[in-house]
C-alpha cells in the first residue's frame, strides 16, 4: 500500500439495486484533485467511500496506506467537509469547531487554540461567537471548512465547498486550497463550477453514471479524447496565408479566420504534427505571431466531449 496515494482498487458500491459507483480504479496523488460529473454521477459516493462512511460492496480502498475500516488511524489523516449543512443544534461557530476537535482527541487548550487558528484561516473570527443558525449559507460553508481543516489532516475531502460563497470568499477559499495543495496535502474537491475547477486542479476525475470516465491532468485527458479534434487559437498578422498552408496537412479538420482578421481557430486530429507545420509556416511565410494557445484544453470542453448531454443539468 502506497503511503502517498489514495488508491481505489476495482471499487464498486451498490445501494441495493441502485448503482453508486462501479469498477473504480484510481490513484490520487497529492495536490488538488477535482471530482467532476453531473448530479448522481457518484461524486459524493466516492467521497463517502474515501472517508469510510460507507463501505464498498466490492474492491478495496486505501488512504495513504490506511484502510477506511481503521477509523482511528484514518481520521487522523482525513478532514471531511460534507455537501449538506450538517450542524449539531444550537452551537456557535466556535463551539462547533472546538467540540469536534475535542471528540477528535485534542485536549481543551489545544482544541481552543486550533479552533481559533482554523477559524482565522477561513476569515470568520468576527462571527465565531454567533450561533450557526444565524449564519448565511456562505458563512456556514466556511465554518464547515474550518472544522475540516482544524486537526491538520493530510487529506481534505471537500464536497462542493465553493457553493454559496461570494466572489471574495471564493477567491480566498481557492487560494487556501492552492496553498494546501502546494504543501503536499491531498485536496479532493467536488464542484460544479467548471471554470474554477479548471483553474485550481492539478488533476481531474470525470464521473458519469457511477463510472470514472477519465482521470489525470486536464491536458493529458484532453489529449486522449480522439473523437474531438483539438482546437488551437493562433493570433497573428496574416492568418489567411497561414490558413492556406495549413490545409496541406491531412490532419487539419477545419480552419476558421477570426472576424477581426487577426487570428484563426484551427481544429486538428494531430496536434504535434500541426505545431511542427506551424513552425515551418511561420519561418517560411515570415508572419508575426502574437499568441498560440489551446482553445479547448479545459475541464469544460473535456466535460462536454466526454459527458455531453448527460451533464446538461450541471
Amino acid at each position: 500500500m502506497n503511503a502517498d496515494l489514495i488508491v481505489f482498487d476495482n471499487v464498486s458500491r451498490f445501494y441495493g439495486d441502485v448503482l453508486g459507483v462501479n469498477n473504480v480504479n484510481l490513484s490520487v496523488p497529492p495536490g488538488i484533485t477535482s471530482l467532476v460529473g453531473p448530479n448522481g454521477a457518484g461524486k459524493t459516493t466516492l467521497m463517502n467511500l474515501m472517508t469510510g462512511l460507507i463501505r464498498p460492496t466490492r474492491g478495496s480502498i486505501s488512504v495513504l496506506g490506511v484502510r477506511p475500516n481503521q477509523p482511528e488511524e484514518l481520521f487522523r489523516l482525513v478532514g471531511y467537509c460534507t455537501q449538506f449543512d450538517n450542524f449539531p443544534k444550537g452551537m456557535t461557530g466556535f463551539d462547533f469547531v472546538k467540540s469536534f476537535l475535542l471528540i477528535h482527541g485534542f485536549d481543551e487548550r489545544d482544541a481552543d487554540r486550533r479552533a481559533w487558528e482554523s477559524i482565522d484561516r477561513v476569515n470568520m473570527r468576527d462571527a465565531a461567537n454567533r450561533r450557526l443558525a444565524a449564519y448565511s449559507k456562505g458563512m456556514r460553508q466556511r465554518m464547515k471548512l474550518a472544522q475540516a481543516l482544524s486537526h491538520s489532516p493530510r487529506v481534505l475531502v471537500l464536497d462542493e465547498p465553493l457553493n454559496g460563497l461570494d466572489p471574495m470568499a471564493r477567491a480566498e477559499t481557492i487560494a487556501l486550497f492552492e496553498a494546501l495543495g502546494a504543501q503536499g496535502v491531498h485536496v479532493i474537491v467536488s464542484s460544479h463550477i467548471l471554470h474554477e475547477v479548471d483553474r485550481i486542479s492539478d488533476q481531474v476525475i470525470l464521473l458519469s453514471q457511477g463510472y470514472v470516465v477519465a482521470e489525470g491532468a486536464i491536458e493529458s485527458v484532453r489529449g486522449e479524447v480522439k473523437d474531438h479534434p483539438i482546437q488551437i487559437v493562433l493570433r497573428c498578422d496574416n492568418p489567411r496565408a497561414v490558413a492556406a498552408r495549413l490545409f496541406e496537412d491531412d490532419n487539419i479538420v477545419e480552419v476558421g479566420i477570426h472576424k477581426d482578421r487577426q487570428g484563426l481557430l484551427i481544429r486538428t486530429l494531430n496536434v504535434d504534427a500541426m505545431y511542427l507545420m506551424l513552425n515551418r509556416i511561420i519561418l517560411e511565410v515570415g508572419i508575426e505571431v502574437e499568441s498560440v494557445a489551446p482553445a479547448d484544453e479545459d475541464v469544460n470542453s473535456v466535460y462536454q466531449y466526454l459527458i455531453g448531454a448527460e451533464g446538461a443539468t450541471v
Binding site: 472517508t51 460507507i54 477509523p71 482511528e72 449539531p88 482527541g105 491538520s152 496535502v185
Partner: protein
C-alpha cells in the same frame, strides 16, 4: 504533474484517551439542557421526595423529635424493603417523565440536521456516539434514583446500626440494580424513539404511548384470551416483578412498587420478565443500529 515540496506536517502529538471522548457529547448535551428552565425546575422538584424520605428516617430515630410531635415510633412507617420499593417506584416514575422530556431531543436533531457524518468522520464510532448520548440520561436518571436511594440506605444504616446494615445489605443492591434496569431500559427506548421520530413532541408522546398503551393492550389480551401472558408487554409489570425479586421479596399478588405493581393473580415468572425486557432492549439497539449511520441511504 506538479512537483510538491512536502512542507505540510499533520499533528502527531498526544491525544486524550479514547474511552473519554464520548463524554464530549454528554458535556455539550448537559450545557444545552441547563438552558431550559423547565428542566431545572423539574429536576430540583424530583429531589423533594428523597428529602421527605430522609426526614422520615431521621425523625423515626430521633425520640425527642417524636415526643415533640406526639407521635409513637411504632406508628411511624417501617424502614424496610417496602419503604425502599415505594421510594424507587416514585423516583422511577419521575425519571420516566424527565426522560420523556429529554430523551427525544438527544438524537433526532443530529439526524434532522445531517450531523452524523460529522461525528463519524472522526476517530469516533457509532457505539461511542450512542454511549455519549446515553450517558447524559444515565447520569441524570442516576442522580434521581439510585444515588439518593443509596444515600437513604446509608442514613438508615448509620442511625439503625451495623446489625440492620448486615441484615438488609441486599436492599442496597436492589436499589442500585433495580434503578439500573429501569434507567438502561428507558435510555435505550428513548434514544431509539428519538432516532426514528424526528419531531420531538411526537417522540415524547410515543414514549408515553409505549408505556401506557402497551399496558392497556396487555390487559386487553389478558381479558380476551383469559390468560396472564399479556403482561409480557406491560412494562410496569415486568419492571415491578424484577424489582420484587431484586429486593428478595416473594413474588405475590399486589407486590411491587407504587406505579409498578404486579397485577393480582397475573404474576409471570421473573425469568420471563428478564427475557422480555432484554428482547425489548435488543430491539431498541437494532433500531439504533439501523439509524445511527454515517450516511443515510435512501433507496
Amino acid at each position: 504533474m506538479a512537483v510538491y515540496k512536502k512542507t505540510y506536517r499533520s499533528y502527531e502529538g498526544r491525544m486524550t484517551p479514547e474511552w473519554a471522548r464520548f463524554f464530549v457529547l454528554t458535556r455539550y448535551a448537559w450545557e444545552d439542557l441547563q438552558r431550559r428552565r423547565f428542566f431545572t425546575l423539574f429536576f430540583l422538584g424530583t429531589l423533594i421526595w428523597p428529602l421527605i424520605c430522609a426526614l422520615g428516617i431521621y425523625v423515626r430515630h430521633n425520640l425527642s423529635a417524636l415526643e415533640l410531635m406526639g407521635i409513637r415510633a411504632a406508628s411511624m412507617v417501617q424502614i424496610d424493603s417496602s419503604f425502599f420499593l415505594t421510594f424507587l417506584g416514585v423516583q422511577c416514575m419521575f425519571a420516566f417523565f424527565l426522560n420523556s422530556f429529554i430523551g427525544p431531543g438527544l438524537v433526532s436533531p443530529d439526524l434532522s440536521n445531517n450531523a452524523l457524518p460529522l461525528y463519524l468522520s472522526r476517530p469516533f464510532s457509532r457505539t461511542e456516539y450512542v454511549l455519549g448520548r446515553m450517558s447524559m440520561l444515565l447520569i441524570l436518571l442516576s442522580l434521581m434514583t439510585w444515588i439518593p436511594g443509596e444515600f437513604l440506605f446509608g442514613l438508615q444504616s448509620y442511625l439503625e446500626g451495623w446489625d440492620w446494615f448486615k441484615a438488609n445489605a441486599g436492599l442496597a443492591w436492589g436499589l442500585f440494580a433495580g434503578s439500573g434496569v429501569w434507567i438502561v431500559f428507558l435510555a435505550l427506548l428513548s434514544l431509539s424513539v428519538s432516532a426514528w421520530v424526528k419531531w420531538k413532541p411526537v417522540a415524547g408522546g410515543l414514549l408515553f404511548g409505549l408505556f401506557f398503551v402497551a399496558a392497556g393492550f396487555g390487559q386487553a389480551i389478558n381479558a380476551v384470551l383469559r390468560t396472564k401472558w399479556g403482561n409480557l408487554i406491560n412494562i410496569s409489570n415486568l419492571v415491578g416483578s424484577i424489582w420484587v425479586s431484586l429486593f428478595n421479596k416473594p413474588l405475590e399478588s399486589g407486590s411491587g412498587a407504587v406505579f409498578f405493581r404486579i397485577a393480582r393473580g397475573e404474576e409471570i415468572p421473573v425469568w420471563m420478565c428478564w427475557v422480555s425486557l432484554a428482547l425489548i432492549c435488543l430491539f431498541c439497539l437494532y433500531l439504533l443500529g439501523r439509524k445511527i449511520r454515517g450516511v443515510e441511504v435512501s433507496r
